[in-house]
Symmetry: C2
Amino acid sequence: MAKNFRLYIPEPLFPEKVITLTEAQTHYLKNVVKITRQDRISCFDGQNGEFAAELLNISKKDISLRIAKQLRPLTICPDIWLLFAPLKKDKTDFVIEKATELGCRKIIPVITEHTNTTNIKIERYTAQSIEAAEQCRRTDLPEIIPPQPLSTLLAGWDKTRTLYYMDETLNSPDFYTVLKGNSNKQAAILIGPEGGFSSEELSRLQNAPYAKGATLGPRILRAETAVAAALSCWQLIQGDWSN
Amino acid sequence: MAKNFRLYIPEPLFPEKVITLTEAQTHYLKNVVKITRQDRISCFDGQNGEFAAELLNISKKDISLRIAKQLRPLTICPDIWLLFAPLKKDKTDFVIEKATELGCRKIIPVITEHTNTTNIKIERYTAQSIEAAEQCRRTDLPEIIPPQPLSTLLAGWDKTRTLYYMDETLNSPDFYTVLKGNSNKQAAILIGPEGGFSSEELSRLQNAPYAKGATLGPRILRAETAVAAALSCWQLIQGDWSN
């Protein structure tokens, strides 16, 4: 049965262009999924949409493709950012993957007082997000920003962007009420670390006019669950899940 | 620093009752988290709420506790069920964990035409859900039902319960519109397997008056992402995340 493969190509694509895949892409297509000439390939570059591609040559070392017609135009995801305190490796992988699938435009690891991971590998995050974008049929990629301390990020915050922070103390209104009361389509979601925000951080957030605290129900969600939940809720009410 | 531990005890609890922990619980407390007499322990039984507990005795083989005062009454999660097509082991673990955290009352593995996993271990699912319930501070446990073919489940469906199925064909309305148009608090969410529903299954669902198809945005979500997303959306609009 013919299969479909979707690849991100980090250079501008246009019909008739010939591209040579990377070693990793070649390995994946040749050895992991064992591509055949019956399979369909499409490519996207994050700038010009998605294109059909023809298998030109499979050599021992690499695969070359010829770009054919455009299949879909570029669609940029809604203007929602994720700010998250890095977690253990597996959980951070999960966060990057889910944030990409759930249509996040920008992903920023933030260092908070209770963040206990310093193992932040932007290259790894980027690889995870590319894989997720290929799988979920995005034509853009989320932008992944190097980690920043929360205090720095708040000090330079563009006040026209609403910052929703998920408040585990249950002292904030529910997220539905908060989302219905705010129609700003430029937004960010901040999820704290496993240990929660410090009281200083919370008081700083509470006093920032652009920041809105919200609760996600009565149970205590793991940080990575809160990421998926909050992004889903935002997309449902204010993003591209509803018309 | 004193820590808090929360344990599920599968027998009715009441003040002054003495309980002996299982081998696994004992191993966890003694060897994994290295419990001390300064730490706080609470126990819940899924029936009578949550109780403080005192460390009575730590022997080589087991730990005994004395149940003290009730800390919280029993709270039953909203009447939302999850029906999901089992996935690979790790992904199914994830589904059970997230469904528990996201306040699912009942979890039913369903066998659809494109389900390619037959490795369904209810004991493992139960263990996963207990761990997640302990962590997220639920006082009830989700009920986990043995796997059933989708056709059997639909044939015996209680028609007063709305069944939301997530439709990857993008031919259904968005989930927000669907949720706003249906106020039935007895509901279930059905997530198909990686390969989607068969056309027969889809047509059967489309023709069932209790079933409502919905889409979760323009991107293709992995099955386990769709579980977390759909449950979050339901809790936001109709569950216990909003007042």
